[in-house]
Amino acid sequence: MLLMAEDGSTRANWPHYGGTYQFWRYSALEQINRSNVKKLVPVWAFQTGVVDGGLQATPIVVDGVMYLSSSWNRVFAINAETGRELWHYYYQNPRQIGIIYSPWNRGVAVGEGRVFMGTLDNYVVALDQKTGRELWKVNVEDLQQCGCNITGAPLVVKNKVMVGVTGGDSAHRGYITAFDVVTGRMAWRFYTIPGPGEKGHETWEGESWKYGGGASWMTGSYDRELNLVYWGIGNPAADFYGESRRGANLYTDSVVALEPETGELKWYFQQIPHDVWDWDSAYESVLLDLPVKGKMRKLLLNTNKGGYTFVVDRTNGEFISAWPVAEAINWIKGVDEKGELIERYEPQIGKPTFICPSVGGGRQWNQGAYSPQTGWYYTTGIEWCQEVTAQKEEPKEGLNFFGGVLQLKPPPTGRAYGHLDAYHPVTGQKFWTYSSKYPLLASVLATAGDLIFTGDAEGDFFALDAQSGTKLWSFQTGSGHRGSSISYAVKGRQYIATPSGWGSAVAGLMPQIWPETEEFRSGSTLFVFALPEEGP
């Protein structure tokens, strides 16, 4: 092989939000495998004490210490072997938040001896990794003015910590900001909407660029060799009303490649020009090196909320392929060989329009996993639709800017449900499917034990055979799953950890289809499992 594929597996540590910078969410640990997974037992549990918004985080593990964040910006350092708390940091948020992107937090970043977190009131804090003491704190933008904040995990690359912001459904102009890890000083800001005089500005009509959304609410990936940071950008605002922002609306619904030292844009690929459905492309970018038509390529795989996975060449953004993760999709007929959308079906103004999937997405933000062992990509999909009525709306700085209302509906088949599937990452060929009564809103974890882990809305955390999708083990955690499970090892023992705790905006929408979910119990507990230790 001419090109050495970079290894995106984790081992004893789970150092980054996506496992590694490549976002595989794949652990090379194989102590727990298909033949012994039935013996998994809980070894400890950790309760954050705040159930509001559920538990949506991905824990980070470095050298036997776990770093976990919860709603309302609590951070805990935990002995990853015993579950005992080492320190905690409770961030003081203002009493009045009043923003729809709250109160959850999806994770911290650890690097350079510090733990970094973005806050509900739109600050970034740096904590001493050993003690949890606050070292610096900096405001990203006034929450009350921008209607934006930080719920995603930061990304640390070299001596910079990068954060995205929410605000894609607010009258706000999005950006990604980098701060110096030591001093907290701002290093650069990349606006996801080009300003006057910048290339791409012409894709926005009139003043619409000032309030055009383009949130960067999840976490980027990084390619060390190419020295590029990849970040998925969200929908343009107003979400459903596009008449006053005619044009392609760059760089919304795009993946952007930035130079980490300067924030300079190296390339972009826009999946959905002029989005009028609220289809963010803000989810994770998975970095893979795979053969395409007999030639090794450096690929980037990004699934959007409209339910399509786009595969591009990550050296230059060249389109490779696109394939769907859900069946109920009617906003386009497909994607052609150039990567362009075929036959758009848009919400009408003042008239209900039946659109699939629902605004909750053909997939939610919770990440998929790639196993180099099977060569397959594992991700969830959701079958649900909605009636959307677009309506004319003027932007009011920092306030909601949806430009429409919606009502969730089952698909024409009458059956709304969730599923987890195994795909070929480039062609989208499906190898197996696992169905669930409700949308699966937790991330997927793959391991070298040929196992796939995730949790469901009813509280079951379970393991599937990576080859066949057969369920091998399950454990009832008492509340639905909305976070991201991980695997790590301490002193040679492999652990599987999963957040449990139902909540979030999308969980809030679910009663429109499944009324009983309104009474689902929230929670916020981290469960850790391992194989029983050998008896005497």
Binding site: W72, N93, R95, Q96, I97, G98, I99, I100, Y101, P103, R133, E134, L135, W136, K137, V138, N139, V140, E141, D142, Q144, Q145, D169, H172, R173, T183, G184, R185, M186, R189, K210, D278, G350, K351, P352, V359, E387, V388, T389, Q391, K392, E393, E394, K396, E397, L399, N400, F402, G404, V405, L406, Q407, S504, A505, V506, G508, L509, P511, Q512, E518
Partner: protein, 260 residues
């Protein structure tokens, strides 16, 4: 105004008020992820088919709910419009059927009636410049006025007593009586504002580059904190033209006049 509110309180069942409340609700409360069409529930709770107290609904709509996603609509909706929304929400209490398809808004209907800047016309431009989001660094990056902006620099209502010429000179000055120079053991030197301290730590705002960074330093890390420095306020306002800085002054004066 009180008379008007009382009148509206008595007319919460008036079809015209309910209909007006519905229009505002559709464009303000049922949008996107919030309360859903007809209060069907979203990220916000279901309002449909629920017996709610009018004063509670009014209070929550006006003031928001602390530590939640529910914003305060005071200052964003007129009081009579908040009452109209209350009237509509109460009208949903007996709804049992799921909300109908969202066809409530005819095309071309304008947005809900949000309040505009409450000050006089001559202060409006200054207000907009003070909070101008198209500038990476704006006055509000370091100063708070009217419950907006980041309160790090001095309260500008105090400064606003000066005459306009003096004010302009203060804004464009090359010296500041507030800013100190911090020297660290590491050799680092930066312009700083004091933000707090105890026997172990000193909190300083690092003003090297906007936005200011609140740094917590061990006393042993600090060599000295002294007055006199070369930090210039003029440098952080250089992305405003002189004429724009002059236009901000009437806004500062107006905010000062609002002081209770």
């Amino acid at each position: 105004m009180i008379w008007l509110v009382l009148l509206l309180v008595q007319n919460l069942t008036d079809p015209g008020t309910i209909s007006r409340g519905k229009r505002i609700f559709v464009q303000t409360c049922s949008v996107g992820y919030c309360h859903g069409v007809g209060g069907a529930a979203g990220a916000g709770p279901r309002l449909r088919g629920r017996k709610l107290d009018k004063d509670y609904v009014y209070r929550v709509t006006r003031d928001g709910i602390p530590q939640s996603a529910m914003p305060a609509w005071k200052g964003r909706l007129r009081d009579e419009d908040i009452w109209a929304v209350v009237a509509y929400v109460l009208s949903l209490s007996s709804a049992v059927e799921p909300a109908s398809a969202p066809a409530e808004m005819p095309p071309g209907v304008g947005p809900a009636a949000f309040l505009q800047f409450p000050g006089p016309a001559e202060a409006k431009r200054g207000h907009d410049l003070f909070f101008d989001a198209t500038r990476g660094t704006r006055c509000a990056t370091c100063h708070s006025l009217g419950e907006r902006g980041i309160p790090i620099g001095p309260d500008l209502r105090d400064v606003a007593s000066e005459n306009p010429a003096q004010l302009l000179s203060l804004i464009r000055n090359n010296r500041s009586k507030h800013v100190l120079t911090a020297r660290l053991e590491s050799g680092e030197v930066f312009p700083a504002l004091r933000a707090g301290q105890n026997e172990k730590w000193v909190k300083l705002y690092d003003l090297t580059t906007p936005p200011p960074v609140l740094r917590t330093l061990e006393r042993s890390q600090i060599t000295s904190i002294v007055e006199a420095n070369d930090w210039q306020h003029a440098a952080v306002v250089r992305n405003y033209k002189t004429e724009e800085l002059q236009a901000i002054i009437p806004y500062l004066k107006w905010e000062r006049s609002q002081e209770k």
